[in-house]
Symmetry: C2
Subunit: 126 residues, 2 copies
Amino acid sequence: MSTTEISAGAQALVARYIEMWNEPSPAARAALIEQTLTDSATYVDPMASTEGAEQLNALIDAVQEQFTGYRFTLHSGPEIHHNCVRFSWALGTDASTPAAVGTDVAELAEDGRMCNVIGFLESTPS
Amino acid sequence: MSTTEISAGAQALVARYIEMWNEPSPAARAALIEQTLTDSATYVDPMASTEGAEQLNALIDAVQEQFTGYRFTLHSGPEIHHNCVRFSWALGTDASTPAAVGTDVAELAEDGRMCNVIGFLESTPS
């Protein structure tokens, strides 16, 4: 693949990852998870740690319940090199200062899906 | 381990990681690498990718040759959660604007050493 193709693939992958976090239907979300992460993918952030699609789906459910009315948006990136992608996301309601901003680093499997996601939170914007 | 112990361990680990990048003697550096990373640890940044101590030692040699007179310093962090550490470093000469700033995310093995390091560059400070 050319750098342009890899970059376009990463853009689409990260857009789908954000969409996955916003998807309210567990069934539709399961389909997005399958398209975005490998079956045994690990996910870890300061509050949670999951392995596999089912645990991740349950985590997203819990986060959506805690932050009703909030949506994730892409804040910056993605940047990509080798099999690694980095991007920042924001969680907020429309047209307001985000409640949280975080940065995720994901490793991609050979099939292009994420196999390992490590998230950190940035300082909450004032 | 308590959070305080984990945090103190991460501080020491990252300090040693920075020292390792600055160490001019390949033999002394090999000892620092062994204390800091597992034998089969993977390292990747936008310019390089290594697996194991020998390849990492050779990479550090090449970087030191390219940036003679420069030193790495800790720029921010470390932050830690679960088995993950994030920190930023700067590469520069004394008392000048750094030539480069980067952020590394490292996963730690059960023995506390890094087993996987993923680095990204921040925009070069103006």
